[in-house]
């Protein structure tokens, strides 16, 4: 998928830099995001959360040009306007534990300037229903499970039908059924909104995202479709019986064989029992980021 390379795209960033002391958490990020779901991948510390917080107007950038929903987050009035059209699920959200789920959303809805009381409450009910928490609306937050709290935070982000939805590790703590519910929900939203999903769950990216942006040390190292990323890994993934001596990453499979990712392309006549296999998105991501680890 080609990026809409215009300053009117919902997200338009050029040469974005965010410094923490002498370290650049973002180091010259260029990005244009349009409608649909974009997956943000990268190792811990790659800059994903910093980028999302910058897009969410929660963090000022140190240098570069950033426009969100056509407005400048650095200007106080425009920042408020962006926030009226934004939904943000932070990493590890925290709550007022003594609030009920409904009361917490009511508090957030007031901060989001969502209409009069009746309209606000209708929107809260709709959001609770979307994340499957209607039956728990009168339960205090401290009595909700981790997965329920995550869904409650998602409901808070969804209120007001945001044009730009920024989700930082949204599926942490969700069980498989809830993750399916989450994917369906995000797919529906992406029809009319721009969704940015930062995650370590590659399967969520495979299932949801039309576009993948990979960050490494604050830079964009890949920006394209999942199919393109997988295509790059084609010819670099092996499976073999014996313990491999080479490879960027290797790990032992359930059947006792080893999966090997190498930077060298597969030899057309592989030695011994080595056989080339079709790469997954996870293979492609691991190859791209060059993780040197071996899961045994």
């Amino acid at each position: 998928m080609s990026a809409p390379a215009t300053a009117t795209a919902p997200v338009h960033a050029r040469g974005l830099v965010r410094r923490y002391g002498s370290r650049n958490a973002l180091d010259g990020v260029d990005l244009d995001l349009g409608a649909g779901v974009t997956g943000l991948l990268g190792r811990n510390g790659a800059g994903k959360t910093t980028l999302l917080r910058s897009l969410a107007t929660d963090l000022d950038v140190s240098a570069g040009r950033l426009r969100v929903l056509g407005r400048d987050p650095g200007d106080a009035a425009e920042r408020t306007e962006i926030r009226r059209r934004l939904g943000y699920l932070p990493q590890s959200p925290e709550f007022y534990p003594h609030f009920t789920a409904f009361a917490l959303l009511d508090y957030v809805a007031v901060l989001k300037e969502l209409g009069g009381r009746r309209a606000r409450h209708d929107e809260i009910r709709r959001s609770l229903d979307r994340v499957g928490l209607t039956a728990r609306r009168h339960t205090r937050v401290r009595r909700l499970s981790g997965g329920m709290r995550q869904r409650l935070a998602l409901a808070a982000a969804l209120m007001g039908d945001p044009e730009l939805l920024l989700l930082d590790e949204p599926t942490i703590g969700l069980d498989p059924e809830q993750r399916i519910l989450f994917r369906n929900l995000v797919s529906e939203l992406a029809v009319r909104s721009t969704v940015v999903l930062s995650t370590h769950q590659i399967e969520d990216v495979s299932a949801l995202c039309q576009r993948v942006v990979c960050l490494d040390r604050g830079r964009v190292v890949f920006d394209g479709t999942p199919a393109t990323l997988i295509g790059r890994a084609r010819g670099h993934v092996w499976e073999q019986t014996g313990r491999p001596r080479d490879g960027v990453t290797t790990w032992r499979l359930a059947d006792g064989r080893y999966r090997v990712l190498t930077t060298e392309r597969n030899d057309p006549a592989p030695p011994g029992d080595r056989s080339a296999v079709e790469p997954t998105l996870e293979d492609a991501y691991l190859l791209l980021t060059g993780v040197e680890r071996s899961a045994r």
Partner: protein, 266 residues
């Protein structure tokens, strides 16, 4: 059911031309007779609205006494909600304030130069309250609410008001209990310094966390007190003298101006 409504009775009931006694009888019958009920057309819009009203009453978060009082005083319901939604943020601070002021009063009554402790404490109490009222690290749900339209300056000033009002009331009450008071005017010697310190921390919070700003301003206050106490020529009480009050008033006006300029564009 041995009898049913006649078509004429149904027509009269639907067109509201039936008398009250017959209407009650018809309604009692309709409660138990599905065939007759099916003859009466339902007002779907009214039904949906009624259910929505009922659901809203059931779901609505409980409105506390303070919130009702603020609304009765003319505050908008949403503002009252924001002011009263997070009392647990202030509860510990309110208890600490009472303890600190009580200690200051005790020392004022029983220790030589004990009034100095109160002079030092009273201006700092509201500052500490404001410093812990808003921001990452002090507000549990800050990450969830920090990028909402009302977050930032507007919520910060709302919360500051929620802290300032009880703080000022408690400090004034404590000042009136001092050993050598006192008119209300004499008891308010600490007020302008206090408001100036708070305004200073709010202005500084543009460049740093509010808690850090509060610590910085509080640090300056402590430093000033120590320097004055260490000097034989000038008494600490000079900080509260009428001439000094004029300086405090000027500084406060300048800081409030800076705050208003900062908030207005948002």
């Amino acid at each position: 059911m041995s009898w049913h409504l006649t078509p004429a009775q149904v027509d009269e009931y639907v067109s509201s031309t039936v008398d009250d006694v017959t209407a009650m009888s018809v309604e009692a019958h309709l409660m138990h007779c599905p065939p007759c009920r099916s003859l009466v057309p339902a007002d779907e819009a009214w039904l949906a609205d009624s259910w929505a009203d009922l659901r809203d009453i059931v779901d609505r978060p409980r409105v506390g006494l303070l919130e009702r009082a603020l609304t009765a005083l003319g505050l908008r319901q949403t503002t009252a909600r924001l002011l009263t939604a997070t009392p647990q943020l202030y509860r510990a601070w309110l208890v600490a304030t009472v303890v600190v002021l009580a200690a200051a009063l005790l020392s004022a009554h029983h220790l030589p130069r004990g009034s100095l402790l109160f002079a030092f404490t009273a201006p700092v109490v509201p500052l500490v309250g404001v410093a812990v009222a808003y921001g990452r690290g002090v507000d549990p749900a800050h990450t969830l609410t920090s990028v909402t339209p009302l977050a930032g300056q507007r919520l910060l000033f709302l919360r500051s008001c929620a802290v300032l009002v009880p703080a000022l009331v408690m400090c004034t009450a404590a000042a009136l209990l001092m050993p050598s008071p006192t008119t209300l005017w004499n008891a308010g010697f600490w007020l302008l310094p206090s408001l100036t310190l708070v305004a200073g921390s709010l202005v500084l919070s543009r460049w740093m966390h509010l808690s850090a700003a509060g610590a910085a301003v509080g640090g300056l206050w402590v430093l000033a007190m120590v320097l004055f106490a260490a000097t034989d020529q000038i008494s600490v009480l000079e900080l509260f003298a009428p001439v000094s009050q004029l300086w405090w008033a000027a500084a406060l006006a300048a800081l409030v101006g800076a705050i208003v300029l900062r908030v207005r564009p948002a």
